[in-house]
């Protein structure tokens, strides 16, 4: 893409790789700068505005921002964005005073949110301060949904959940806990102006192999088992445990099992290790706790003696890819593997289930039995019923649920205020020069050479004995500062003003990354071949000026720009300036 072919707000939003990759578009560099400045409360509030659950996400987020981080292309590893978020949550002062006030006057519109997970609570957070009368229903006694029941306490302490739930519920949200909704029609009939369904993907996929039924007493569905662990219904497990599945739930299962008496815990996956769905760091954490991950093994049979589980038989497979890159698992022909065990946890996937939604109320389902939901407005085929989180598009993770919640709240607000739900306003960008003096910028443009810091962990000897002891200790403030300084401030953009340029080449000469070229204009594919340094990364855009006096254009490859501001410092005419970009996305009430 070329900068001259797209709206500035969209172009520069994409330059902030982390913010662009974040489903909730959290302004990452902005809060990292605040962390570096020791302003943890401010950093927390910026997060809270965007992603609602900074303390929870700072421990559990799937971090789509980190693989996108420009630092990962400049050196090996991205900034530890996720754990810096936790720093903001850990070291903030009391922020309760800074939360929005309860609406003084209700606006007369009633909204029902079904399920008290991240999606519903985001809807409630966005709408309640605007005067909406928001009621959140959940079958459990406490809010949080899967964040509370599925994520083990050694990763996410209950106190963090309680705190961040209260920030939302204290906005004047009517929380009807312990209330299971058995009929969507019933809710609709209560005359709400809008209904939001955020009920997650609550059903664990099961295994269908010989012996499964007979040994059922020793085989548990992962998500149900984790919930039972979370509520204290399950306090121990046998010594030899097999966890089936390669996702993050499987990682939570195996690590929980290690803490409940499992001494010989193994994870067995069908796919190869690399293709596992679990995040790399969650796999690392599991292996760090002495849990082997065995791959390319497909469950074939459950072995038991009169219903007492003795082991599982697996067929060895290898991956083959067809011309279109689709994988199939082909048996290798080697003898089957028997792994002895006493209990099995099945974490091979989750499914949506809507037995409580009547099929004759006008809500259409697709061929996978998922409700038809508009991916932008989150509206179903009933005009005032919206979906979000896992309930809308299947299992994802918390940050996606938050993003859906923001989007749905915007649509609900539009609906209730009589605007066209299907019209999305364009994002607005704001640019502020960071120039303070000839060589002074209001951001720290000195590029740190610090490598990525590891988060200190509690010793296994302690961590593995108590399932409620948090494993990660989090960064201390000194480490947080060092890690924060690794951020390249990608939101401080190099802005070029063509008429001011005298084509002196100073920026070309000084750029440490050879990003800038002055050359004859051409199509993007042609330009990419004529730049100072190779520009093979097509996901990164070219910043192209209008023609200069010599009829050439300035082309800057965004790929590995350090945002160090050297071009602007060496520019004699101010044609280059470093300007902080911020974006206002469509949000309810904004």
């Amino acid at each position: 893409m070329r900068s001259d072919q797209v709206a500035p707000a969209d172009y520069f939003h994409k330059v902030v790789d982390c913010q662009w990759a974040c489903p909730a578009h959290t302004p990452v560099p902005e809060y990292i700068r605040l962390i570096a400045a020791g302003r943890y409360g401010d950093a927390y509030m910026i997060n809270w505005q965007s992603n609602v659950f900074p303390g929870i996400l700072g421990r559990t987020c799937d971090r789509p921002c980190e693989p996108a981080c420009r630092r990962g292309r400049v050196e090996d590893e991205p900034v530890a964005i996720c754990r810096l978020k936790r720093v903001a949550a850990d070291f903030k002062e009391d922020v309760r005073e800074r939360m929005p006030l309860k609406a003084e006057k209700k606006n007369g519109k009633r909204v029902a949110c079904i399920g008290a997970g991240p999606a519903s609570l985001t809807v409630a957070r966005d709408l309640a301060p605007l005067g909406y009368d928001v009621t959140v229903f959940d079958s459990e006694p406490k809010a949080g949904g899967f964040m509370r029941t599925q994520i083990p306490k050694f990763r996410l302490p209950e106190s963090v959940i309680d705190e961040e739930m209260s920030y939302v519920l204290d906005l004047g949200v009517n929380f009807r806990h312990g209330t299971r909704i058995d009929s969507l029609k019933g809710v609709i009939d209560e005359g709400y102006d809008a209904v939001f369904v955020g009920t997650g993907a609550p059903r664990g996929r099961d295994l269908d192999v010989p012996g499964r039924a007979e040994a059922a007493a020793h085989i548990h569905l992962g998500i149900d088992w984790l919930a039972n662990v979370a509520f204290g219904h399950v306090k121990k497990i046998s010594k030899r445990v097999i966890v089936l599945g390669g996702g993050n739930t499987a990682m939570d299962c195996c690590r929980s099992a290690r803490r409940l008496g499992g001494e010989d815990v193994k994870v067995v996956v069908r796919s190869g290790f690399e293709e596992m769905k679990a995040s790399p760091w969650e796999k690392e954490d599991a292996m760090h706790e002495g849990i082997p991950i065995l791959n390319y093994l497909v469950p074939k049979e459950v072995k038991h003696i009169d219903g007492r589980l003795t082991g599982m038989v697996f067929e060895k497979v290898r991956a083959e890819y067809d011309a279109r890159g689709r994988r199939s698992l082909i048996p290798t022909g080697e003898p089957d593997t028997l792994i002895e065990c006493d209990e099995v946890l099945v974490a091979v996937g989750q499914e949506n289930a809507f037995p409580w939604i009547e099929r004759d109320i006008g809500l259409e389902f697709d061929k996978w039995d998922m409700p038809k939901v508009d991916p932008v407005t989150y509206r179903s085929t009933i005009p005032n019923v919206f979906f979000g989180g896992d309930a809308a598009f299947g299992p994802k993770n918390i940050i996606w649920a938050v993003a859906h919640g923001h989007g749905a709240a915007f649509s609900i607000d539009a609906l209730c205020q009589g605007r066209d739900v299907d019209v999305q306003p364009p994002a607005k960008g704001d640019f502020v020069s960071q120039k303070m003096g000839i060589h002074e910028w209001s951001y720290d443009n000195d590029i740190s050479l610090q490598r990525r810091l590891k988060v200190p962990l509690r010793d296994n000897a302690v961590a593995l004995t108590d399932i409620r002891v948090e494993v990660e200790l989090g960064f201390d403030t000194a480490r947080a500062l060092a890690e924060a300084q690794r951020c390249l401030n990608c939101d401080v953009d190099t802005i070029f003003t063509t008429p001011l340029c005298i084509e002196c080449d100073a920026c070309v000469d000084i750029c440490p990354m050879d990003c800038i070229t002055f050359t004859e204009d051409g199509a993007e594919s042609d330009l990419r071949k004529r730049l100072s340094a190779p520009a093979p990364n097509l996901t990164q855009d070219l910043y192209v000026s209008s023609p200069l006096k010599t009829k050439r254009v300035m082309v800057k490859d965004e790929d590995v720009c350090l945002h160090c501001g050297m071009c602007a410092e060496r520019c004699p005419t101010g044609a280059w300036d470093m300007q902080k970009f911020s974006i206002q996305l469509p949000r309810a009430g904004a």
Partner: protein, 351 residues
């Protein structure tokens, strides 16, 4: 001046030369010249030329006098030898250094004040003596360090920033250099690296006095309307006689050129210069015609650039002095002192 050092990170797929060095290994410390100074572009061109020629930085000596231009050697080739001499005395120091160790590559970096005023005689004699060097003048037509008075290369009629008009004639260093016997003479422009880098490469390869007059706009004091050394003026009046590629065996030029418009000049060491002629009648080997051409275009207010004059079989000071092949600084007492027997023989011859 820039306060922060240039970040250490470099492009992940940055090109390396035969020595395994990147162009960033040819950098010096960060420039303290004004932002946008043409001199920084010349420094950059020198770095790129040395990088492309695979030159080990420690085999290069960079010498300069006083002035903005003479500050620049600090900003390139941090691993080369350097000498900041007295104002205008760079040519003498360079000549001496070259006499002592002819194996180094000598880069003399000077300015219009340093070479056309206080060091004019030094400039003349180093060229007249045929010192094997690259003599680059970063020519901006003003004394930048003293806030922009006219220098000796300012054109008659040119205006200062505040309106004062130059009433004196300008010294044209290119004409002077040809006249004094330089065997490689070029003029270029800091704003045109495509022309400048190959010129510096060819000049470094040239054995003999190679002179490059490089117009280098002073953005602080001489880049306004009425200046004849501003970016806009030079771009508007640039009359390039040719542009060139410097061809080594390692990096042959693959592009096809129109044979009527190109001329390959083979050099003694197997390298060659591929000239793309802008002016079909211009002969770079004709010294008299070159001076004629320069003066004619000067009168017309044009600025001829490119390789203006080249002598194919140049010689240098060491050839003229018939020195030994080994650098003089490597000669030991055993080489230099003939011994008492030889002395006795000489004495006997005088008796």
């Amino acid at each position: 001046m820039t306060y922060l050092p240039k970040p250490k990170f470099r492009h992940p797929s940055i090109e390396k030369n035969a020595l395994g060095l990147t162009h960033r290994d040819y950098e010096g410390s960060i420039s303290t010249l004004c932002a946008g100074c043409g001199h920084d572009s010349i420094s950059s061109a020198i770095m790129h030329a040395c990088f492309e020629l695979d030159l080990p930085p420690h085999r290069i000596a960079k010498l300069s006098g006083i002035g903005c231009s003479s500050k620049t050697p600090t900003y390139f080739l941090g691993n080369a030898h350097g000498f900041n001499s007295v104002h205008g005395r760079m040519p003498s120091v360079l000549t001496g250094a070259n006499l002592a160790n002819k194996d180094l590559i000598y880069l003399g970096v000077s300015g219009d004040g340093d070479s056309a005023s206080i060091g004019f005689g030094q400039f003349a004699h180093s060229i007249r003596r045929g010192v094997n060097m690259v003599y680059i003048v970063a020519n901006n037509g003003v004394y930048g360090l003293t806030k922009g008075q006219f220098s000796a290369t300012s054109d008659k009629g040119a205006k200062l920033k505040k309106g004062a008009v130059n009433t004196d004639d300008a010294i044209d260093l290119v004409t002077m250099a040809i006249h004094l016997g330089a065997t490689f003479v070029a003029r270029s422009f800091s704003g045109d690296k495509k022309q400048l880098v190959p010129l510096i490469k060819a000049a470094i390869d040239h054995k003999g006095p190679a002179f490059i007059d490089c117009i280098s706009p002073c953005v602080a004091f001489n880049n306004h309307d009425g200046s004849t050394k501003s970016f806009d003026y030079v771009r508007a009046h640039n009359e390039a006689v040719n542009s060139l590629d410097f061809i080594t065996e390692r990096a042959p030029i693959m592009a096809d050129y129109d044979p009527g418009q190109t001329q390959q000049v083979k050099l003694h060491d197997g390298t060659s210069i591929l000239l793309r002629k802008m002016n079909a009648d211009y002969d770079i080997h004709d010294r008299v015609a070159a001076i004629n051409y320069l003066m004619k275009h000067d009168v017309a207010g044009e600025i001829p650039t490119g390789l203006v004059y080249l002598e194919d079989e140049p010689g240098d000071m060491h050839d003229r002095l018939n020195t030994v092949d080994r650098p003089l600084n490597e000669l030991t007492d055993a080489d230099l002192v003939p011994g008492s027997a030889a002395l006795a023989k000489i004495n006997a011859g005088l008796r």
